[in-house]
């Protein structure tokens, strides 16, 4: 069983500070939805409002179509996985997992059986009688997931649960979480500041900044078609040019900057020009359009790609990322080159969602 969640014009104030500002989003049943944003952007507050630990100041939250305002956390069909997991250290693993069932009056033998099943589901056999302190970080993670799944929630809420793990384990757990979500069909709402996590796991991502939802889209669109400068620069790297739009037509425009005039897409309001480093091509000769002459300052070999930093005559720093296919020669610092980009890969975007938008 899973349920959808509607946030309808939700606001949350702490004193004079507005932590969440008119957030609207419909999350589908069975969807893996991530809220992505820097710390302090209000994403954890959204999670706490859905789970019931915080009440919205304005707006309506519906879970499975039902208004849940005023319901205590223990009355809502949600289960929250805390950032620090909050496992009960004085109970053995199986009692941790079965705690929600114990609360519901399930007899002991049944609880134990269910705990073993859930342990199998999260790939942790033979750990039922261990104590929390005997498990590794990744194992604790799984126990926390199993404990939340035990109460058969319609919605799972995850508050950056992977942030305490090391990189390898984190990547492994990403796949694991995704698999568990697909297996159980429960709606997952995932909070993170790590764009890699959000993009890799989610069906859809909501990017947040300063309490506002900037963009809700699937991971590809978030990365390829950001709606504004905040989304573009929070998710991935960019070369950013300030300037002025000239002769806009058919979604394209010329953009006059101190570095030169470029052709680029103009999907919406005017703002700055954004070009991702991997869309920059490095060549010896200048191209007809969208070409920037640079002196290379640093060439960092990262293995699968090469990060090339350059500086223009006007002193503007540029960065290009080249795939390392093993045969292309790698340029060296000090060389005079041109960074060239396709107009379709460059976008003029407004700064960020403005109040009332």
């Amino acid at each position: 069983m899973s349920a959808g969640i509607d946030l309808d014009n939700v606001c949350c104030d702490f004193g004079k500070f507005r932590a969440v500002d008119h957030v609207n989003v419909n999350i589908q049943p069975g969807e893996f939805f991530s809220f992505l944003g820097p710390s302090g952007c209000g994403k954890t507050t959204i999670l706490r409002m859905i789970s019931g630990f915080t009440e919205p100041t304005e707006g309506v939250i519906r879970i499975g179509g039902k208004d849940v305002r005023g319901q205590r956390p223990n009355q809502r069909p949600t289960a929250l996985i805390f950032q620090n997991l909050a496992l009960f250290p004085l109970m053995p693993i199986w009692e941790n997992i079965a705690f929600g069932l114990e609360v519901r009056g399930v007899p002991k033998a049944k609880r134990r059986e269910r705990a073993e099943e859930l342990l199998a589901l999260v790939d942790l056999h033979d750990s039922a009688d261990k104590m929390v302190s005997q498990l590794s970080g990744g194992q604790k993670q799984r126990v926390a997931i199993a404990r939340a799944l035990a109460v058969e929630p319609a919605v799972m809420l995850l508050d950056e649960p992977l942030s305490a793990l090391d990189l390898k384990l984190r990547q492994h757990m990403r796949a694991e979480l995704r698999a568990i979500q697909k297996r159980t069909g429960v709606t997952f709402i995932y909070i993170t500041h790590d764009q890699g996590e959000a993009l890799a796991m989610s069906d859809r991502v909501g990017v947040m900044s300063q309490g506002r939802l900037q963009q809700v889209a699937n991971p590809r669109d978030i990365y390829n078609n950001p709606v504004n400068g905040f989304v573009a620069s929070f998710v991935g790297e960019n070369n950013i040019f300030s300037g002025e739009v000239q002769n806009a037509a058919d979604g394209m425009a010329s953009f006059a900057t101190p570095t030169g005039t470029f052709r680029a897409r103009l999907p919406g309001a005017e703002g700055k020009l954004y070009v991702r480093p991997e869309h920059m091509v490095l060549q010896a000769k200048a191209a007809k359009e969208n070409s920037v002459a640079v002196t290379l300052t640093e060439v960092a070999f990262e293995g699968n790609f090469v990060s090339v930093h350059g500086v223009t005559e006007g002193g503007k720093n540029m960065v290009a990322e080249l795939r390392n296919d093993g045969s292309t020669p790698i340029p060296s610092a000090g060389a005079q080159m041109h960074m060239v980009f396709d107009a379709r890969n460059a976008a003029i975007l407004p700064d960020s969602a403005t109040a009332g938008a």
């Binding site: 019931g52 223990n74 929250l80 620090n84 909050a86």
Partner: protein, 307 residues
């Protein structure tokens, strides 16, 4: 040790170690040892000390069995030596004091550690501390005045019409229990508050989120976490209560004798230090046993308490 030497130099280090040893050995261990030794000797006139009659004996300890009286323990009647009766009641009511302080301190420490905003915490702690600035003697006398027959409590209760006749509060063990609770409740509160404060609030929220009602959150998550704090508070309150002389001496009724008063009577009024020492060691021994048994029952170890 090397750390100390490096930090404070030889002179200071040895001075402080010496002073600590002096305090421990000369002021604590030796006098206690002398008392223990003399508790096994008979009470003799000065001339006969060291003489042929001065031999080691258990007679002082056996004195506790003298003077059979009827013991009425909540309706259960059986004959018991008068001093054992006082002894049993002292241990029992010290337990009652411990229990009451726990019942009072648990909700208060939960409130202080998890509910109240940190801003008002210093004020609340100050309010808790203020009574400690007044000496225990004065506080005991204050309770004596409150509980006395024509005292404020009776006057108040009669004015609002709850009782029509004065109640003799200073009767039996209740005034001692009340005053001991008042005197020692903070010794329960602080360890409990410390334990409560070290609990990750997320665990409470997690239990709440999993559907647990408030009492189950306390029973399964908060109380087990606080066990070491409860144990150390309980040991302190129990030992202090059982060993308190001042409070029962001030506020006790004739029907509620405390064992420390028995010891005082033997030592100061009877001038029999040998028997007094024997009784004091019995009190120490049985309190220690009571505490160890309680710790075994509640599965707490000594190292938990030291934390």
């Amino acid at each position: 040790m090397n750390d100390l030497l490096r930090r404070y130099g030889k002179g200071l280090t040895w001075t402080f170690i010496g002073l600590t040893f002096f305090w421990l050995i000369i002021l604590v261990v030796l006098p206690d040892f002398k008392l223990l030794e003399s508790s096994f000797r008979p009470y003799l006139p000065v001339k006969e000390i060291g003489g042929p009659k001065d031999v080691y004996t258990f007679n002082n300890y056996l004195q506790i069995f003298g003077n059979q009286v009827d013991f009425n323990f909540f309706g259960l009647h059986f004959p018991l030596a008068a001093r054992i009766k006082v002894f049993v009641l002292t241990i029992f009511y010290s337990g009652v004091v411990t229990l009451i302080t726990f019942i009072m301190a648990y909700p208060l420490s939960f409130y202080l550690a998890k509910v109240v905003s940190p801003k008002s915490l210093p004020t609340l702690f100050l309010l808790l501390f203020v009574p400690l600035w007044v000496s225990e003697v004065l506080r005991s006398f204050a309770w004596y005045i409150i509980l006395t027959l024509k005292g404020p409590l009776n006057v108040f209760l009669m004015t609002i019409g709850v009782i029509s006749e004065e109640i003799r509060w200073i009767d039996g063990y209740s005034p001692v229990v009340v005053t001991l609770v008042y005197a020692y409740v903070l010794f329960m509160l602080f360890p409990l508050y410390n334990a409560m404060q070290s609990l990750d609030s997320n665990q409470i929220e997690a239990a709440d989120d999993l559907g647990a009602p408030w009492w189950r959150i306390h029973w399964r998550v908060i109380l087990p976490h606080c066990k070491p704090g409860i144990a150390s508070g309980a040991v302190m309150v129990f030992m202090l209560s059982a060993g308190s002389l001042l409070v029962p001496a001030i506020i006790n009724s004739t029907t509620g004798n405390w064992f420390t008063q028995t010891i005082q009577g033997i030592m100061l009024e009877g001038q029999d230090w040998n028997a007094g020492a024997a009784f004091a060691f019995m009190l120490l021994l049985f309190c220690t046993i009571a505490v160890s048994v309680a710790m075994r029952v509640f599965r707490v170890s000594l190292s938990d308490i030291a934390k």
